[in-house]
Symmetry: C2
């Protein structure tokens, strides 16, 4: 991927001996767009990244640390985030407003600035275009696998690359984006087109996943277009290369978002909740999230127990005041489960049990009241989730 | 308690050898009010109880079964609920519209009418005023303790009794009421006053608890006033005995609601979340529920780990778009935790750890933007919750 260089260090931010600092240096002219958490206790680095993106200066670097989230840290947290940007700017010879900081880890603890300053020269010495795999590793916290995806797309004879990394396994219910997703392409696009790409993609990837319903203070999804791969600049949705690029970006983002769910804390199953024939996308998403967030549904999946009445209870809780329940149909993969307000006459519990044993399952809900649809990806709730989160800081 | 007789049977509705059928016979002239689940997949018995209460006929009996919830059962579920009322009416010599049915148990399974019909004569033979303890036992499902509370209140020289029972341990986040709460008094009140009593009480007891955030299909809270204890009929909020009775009813209802949380599936801790100085009660309740529903907060309590940044993340997720986080203060019992957007300068983790080890903890959040307040009671999230709900039907 031309135009992005990555450098990694073991800065010992919270624990020694693990990669925990990542610097991404961007080629001049790279366009950058971001979407961020809606959590009111939005982390200090997210605030600084927003400010710097709004400054109008084209970003030249992203700085990412794990271990400490620098959220719930008040004014001193903002000062540390800004100081880390200044240090990167000094070393790279750019302006502090051209550096975007990101953090993930424990909330309400101070980020040790001196360890970041000490680690930065190591990152800079390490900068290279082929470090995406190590970069994916360096942003892991409770993740059990590194998440990186790359693909190529032909844009009118020029091969562009779209590469992304993400982290996240718990506190996952992105409201605007997810806990650190970075996707870059060497295609050339305008700011306006980049903004359209990120909105479209976020709404169909990072904004459609949930592990535990908890929206993080640090969620950030950043899309970068370096333009270093050549080709004419895509300047509108009517440009002939807009749709192929959008599909490639979406594929990478969906793959990363789904990888977060597959790696959900304690997850043993990957569940696709697909809601169809609703009045609008909002109500379809509300039903999908009501299912995805129900601990009773999630423990039933963990147990492979077709206790599917819990799906009806969850649908009934989605807040659709005028939902006519007799019109709702529910399917588990290909098995019809519920119809006309109750169990489908042709449903057999043996069939339900057969599907529940699978490691990937689709819950399909047909609302029969419109033409909108939404899909959410989630996982089950296991003993391991409780273990991981009871022992997170130890 | 004069005016309510209770009879219990082992009807074998889902499993043999356990009390699972309860009949409550009410004295003539008893006033009854109810509040019910807002779940759109509202159970058949809840629909029939609403209809019968709306019929204008004064109820003479309540019929309660456990094992099968008769929810997600479509038209046949309604037919079974109505047929069970008809059978009670035939045996007691009243109208079917004077019988209120209630069910709790597995969703989307058929309620075996013939077992109810077979059990009813046993209930009738057992009818007595002193069976409240056995009645509390007969409505248990995953409950580990029976929940009953009785107290006496002096109403202008006449001793009135307020007695209540409740069940519930999981699928607990009542939206209008809880999974079966029945409170009766032998004081005399008008329908209008009874309605005021139940609204006031529900909003401060059953509607302020959460175990797992899942609103049940069968939640019902019923308040009955038999008038059999004597005394003048309380006919308005200005009646001198209105406030003493309201306090007594609230005390019983709060005790029962809190008992449900204490018995929450897998609960090891009882958490009071108290939110103060909000603009209105709705936003205070939203913040309290955001904390009470966060699996990350709940697992931290289970682990006695003062990972209290999770409280800030939950507050930030409460949906208050204009919340000024620098004004928010958080206390854990008497220990100041957060202030001015971050950790309180006088907070020490040793103190946090000391409080987290307690079995009863109060989280106090001061929003500093108004004069409203709300309190929600909840519990932690433990391995046992996953075990209970993964194995519920086995």
């Amino acid at each position: 991927m031309k135009g992005v260089k990555l450098g990694i260090a073991e800065a010992g931010i919270r624990k020694a001996g693990r990669k925990d600092l990542l610097l991404m240096a961007l080629a001049e002219g790279t366009r950058v767009a971001g979407v961020f958490t809606q959590n009111r206790f939005c982390a200090a680095p997210v605030q600084v990244t927003r400010e710097n993106l709004a400054s109008g200066r084209m970003p030249r670097a992203l700085l990412v640390n794990t271990g400490v989230a620098n959220a719930g840290t008040g004014k001193s947290g903002l000062a540390v985030a800004r100081a880390s940007c200044s240090e990167v700017a000094r070393l790279l010879g750019c302006d502090a407003a051209q550096v975007l900081p990101f953090s993930t880890g424990v909330i309400m603890e101070s980020l040790p600035l001196e360890r970041i300053i000490a680690g930065l020269p190591v990152c800079i010495a390490d900068l290279g275009e082929n470090n995406w795999a190590q970069a994916a590793e360096s942003i892991m916290t409770t993740d059990s696998v590194a998440k990186a995806r790359s693909l190529r797309v032909n844009l009118d004879g020029i091969t562009a690359t779209v590469t992304g990394i993400a982290k996240g396994a718990g506190m996952i219910r992105p409201n605007m984006a997810t806990m650190l997703g970075f996707v870059a392409t060497d295609a050339a696009v305008t700011e306006e087109v980049l903004q359209q790409l990120i909105s479209y993609t976020a709404a169909r990837s990072f904004n459609r996943i949930s592990v535990d319903g908890d929206t993080s203070t640090n969620d950030s999804f950043v899309l970068m277009a370096t333009g270093a791969g050549g080709g004419s600049r895509i300047d509108s949705p009517r440009h002939p290369q807009f749709l192929p690029l959008r599909e490639a970006v979406l594929e990478v983002a969906q793959w990363l978002a789904q990888a977060i769910v597959r790696d959900g804390e304690g997850a043993t199953k990957f569940i696709t909740v697909s809601v169809e024939q609703g009045r609008d996308q909002a109500e379809c998403a509300a039903v999908a999230y009501a299912i995805a967030h129900s601990p009773l549904v999630k423990t039933a999946f963990f147990a492979s127990d077709p206790n599917l009445g819990r799906l009806l209870a969850a649908i009934g809780n989605a807040g659709i005041a005028d939902l006519e329940v007799n019109g709702v149909e529910v399917y588990l993969d290909d098995v019809p489960v519920a119809r006309e307000g109750g169990r489908a006459p042709d449903y057999g519990e043996d069939e339900g049990r057969r599907v529940m044993k699978r490691s990937e399952i689709t819950v399909r809900v047909v609302l029969n009241r419109g033409r909108a649809a939404a899909t959410v990806w989630t996982c089950d709730l296991s003993h391991e989730y409780v273990t991981i989160n009871a022992e997170y800081r130890t």
